[in-house]
């Protein structure tokens, strides 16, 4: 009796023992910090160990929402994401559809080449693009000069800095997105397309009426990834290349958060800003997931 009981308890405990390391890590380094950020957001604290955090209620939130920089950073983030979508969604879908019949060695060569930017470290990408875009000696401006155009200060001109950052972010993702769309195109049921062709549908009609609807789950996924992660991905480029400048012109909401937290050592502000963002982007994500579920109907 006692032995079976012991055996049973051990059996009931087993899954928890297997789960413990991963669960402990996720709780300790994701969920507990999230809770701590919630607590910090109600306090004012400069992260000095000798100084006690002071309770300030919702002041951090109200102060944040009235910040002049916030508005610019939010607008920049929206523009950045909107400009990123053609690079991470529209072009990849177009290229994948145009080239879906490509077979043989060329297919593999192109796949191999367009994927490369994704695995390059963001800092390396930043360094290389800074070299390519250098106003005096960079290759891109050398090309412009050959065409008789003046040097362009891609990263120093307030009108261009944000677009340059967007381009570098997009450069890393465009090939990857194309391959993602290609993979889901290859998985489409060919009989639907055959049937439409037999009915005399033109290539454009097949794309418009069959391929795009069937691709909608993948397209929504790419939109979701771009919106949720796009501004985060560009962080490294902003940090290394522009510092959010010139004149705040390339400051995004994520970078602003960083400046609060580690530039001004204001843990309360940074946590409040982080939570607002989490709430905002989280809502956007859930909405997009809901939308994805609704449109992915067509799948069967």
């Amino acid at each position: 009796m006692a032995r079976t009981f012991g055996h049973r308890t051990r059996e009931a405990l087993a899954p928890w023992l297997y789960l413990a390391p991963a669960l402990g890590a996720v709780v300790a380094f994701t969920y507990a910090p999230l809770g701590y950020a919630g607590w910090l957001s109600l306090h004012q604290w400069n992260m000095m160990p000798m100084v006690e955090p002071r309770f300030v209620g919702l002041d951090n939130f109200t102060n944040l929402l009235t910040l002049p920089e916030l508005e610019q950073a939010l607008a920049n983030t929206a523009l950045h994401l909107a400009a990123l979508l053609p690079l991470t969604v529209v072009l990849p879908v177009a290229i994948a559809i145009l080239t879906q019949e490509l077979r043989g060695p060329w297919r593999n060569i192109y796949r191999g080449l367009i994927f490369v930017p994704l695995i390059i470290a963001p800092i390396v990408a930043a360094a290389v693009w800074r070299w390519l875009l250098d106003p005096r000696f960079g290759m891109v401006n050398a090309g412009f000069k050959a065409l008789g155009l003046g040097p362009v200060a891609f990263l120093q001109d307030p009108d261009l800095a944000l677009w340059t950052i967007t381009w570098i972010t997009g450069w890393k993702l465009i090939g990857f997105s194309t391959l993602l769309v290609s993979a889901s195109l290859a998985g489409l049921n060919p009989s639907l397309i055959e049937a439409a062709r037999l009915d005399g549908a033109s290539e454009w009609q097949v794309t418009r009426r069959i391929r795009l609807p069937l691709l909608s789950p993948t397209i929504s996924l790419l939109v979701l990834l771009t919106i949720l992660l796009g501004a985060q991905w560009s962080f490294a480029y902003i940090h290394v290349l522009t510092g959010g400048g010139p004149l705040g012109s390339s400051n995004t909401i994520w970078y602003l958060l960083w400046q609060f937290g580690f530039g001004s050592l204001a843990a309360g502000w940074a946590s409040a800003a982080g939570l607002l963002l989490f709430a905002g982007f989280g809502t956007a994500a859930l909405f997009l997931l809901w939308l994805m579920r609704r449109v992915s109907f067509h799948d069967d």
Binding site: V116, V128, W131
Partner: protein, 264 residues
């Protein structure tokens, strides 16, 4: 024809910057500004400069240690957790699975300050161990392995149980050896992500003692930003391991990233 019209420009744009990095690294001072697509007189002087003036080997060693260790630990914790989710039904199992699935929604920037404060309290600032701490478990790895284990043939597991194998033996003798492909795919993904990681080391590192190569490039860029030859040489050294893995295992690398992309 239209295939090439669509893909050739994209391929060129994708690879040219990498090509330019490698060739700039091999150019002598005299032809650093030359628009010629390859160096007329290739030299290693930029690499010698980087090795002489920066602790680049130390940084690469740190990065290798960090990336290898975090990959191994994350594979281990994910294998154990995925086994728990697929082998048993237990209270809150769905909730806990959702806890992993939702954790990728929590942005790093929200938890970075609390994590930084915790690491500082533990006195671990500027150590390699602190880099590892938030990377002891990967939610993505757990989810991908749960999926892989769910598709594992039931009868094999049942046969092993009839033979009286304990769950520990079942996991290590039967399931893990048969999951080599997904485990390898995950290892590639985790290693490359860790190798390229930048945010977290940026917060924690103070000296070359614990710095990784990405931080080395960043400080070189800030201090000697216009020494293009050495900067590109250092960048090439930082990319070399990842590019070599890619050249050797191209199909697997692409597949594992695509799979991770669709898993979200």
């Amino acid at each position: 024809m239209r295939h090439h019209l669509a893909l050739a420009p994209l391929a060129l744009v994708s690879v040219f910057p990498i090509w330019w990095m490698l060739t700039t690294a091999l150019r002598g001072e005299a032809e650093i500004y030359s628009p010629w697509p390859w160096p007329a007189d290739p030299t290693l002087e930029n690499f010698r400069f980087v090795i002489a003036t920066t602790p680049v080997w130390r940084l690469l060693g740190n990065t290798l240690a960090y990336a290898t260790l975090s990959t191994a630990i994350q594979l281990l914790t994910a294998t154990l957790a995925a086994f728990a989710f697929t082998r048993w039904r237990f209270p809150f199992d769905r909730t806990l699975h959702a806890l992993f699935a939702l954790s990728w929604l929590v942005p790093f920037q929200v938890v970075m300050i609390p994590n930084y404060v915790a690491i500082a309290r533990l006195g671990l600032i500027d150590t390699l161990g602190a880099l590892l701490l938030p990377h002891l478990a990967s939610a993505l790895a757990v989810l991908m392995l749960v999926q892989a284990m769910r598709s594992f043939p039931r009868d094999v597991i049942e046969a092993a149980q009839i033979d009286g194998a304990s769950h520990w033996r079942l996991l290590w003798r039967i399931i893990v050896p048969n999951l080599r492909a997904p485990l390898a795919a995950l290892a590639i993904l985790l290693f490359i992500s860790a190798w390229n990681e930048y945010f977290w080391p940026l917060l924690l590192t103070r000296t070359p003692r614990s710095a990784v190569i990405q931080i080395g490039i960043q400080s070189f860029l800030t201090e000697e930003g216009n020494l293009w030859g050495p900067l590109m040489a250092m960048s090439s050294m930082a990319c070399a391991p990842v590019l070599l893995i890619y050249i050797a295992l191209q199909r697997q690398v692409i597949d594992s990233f695509l799979k991770a992309g669709t898993r979200g």
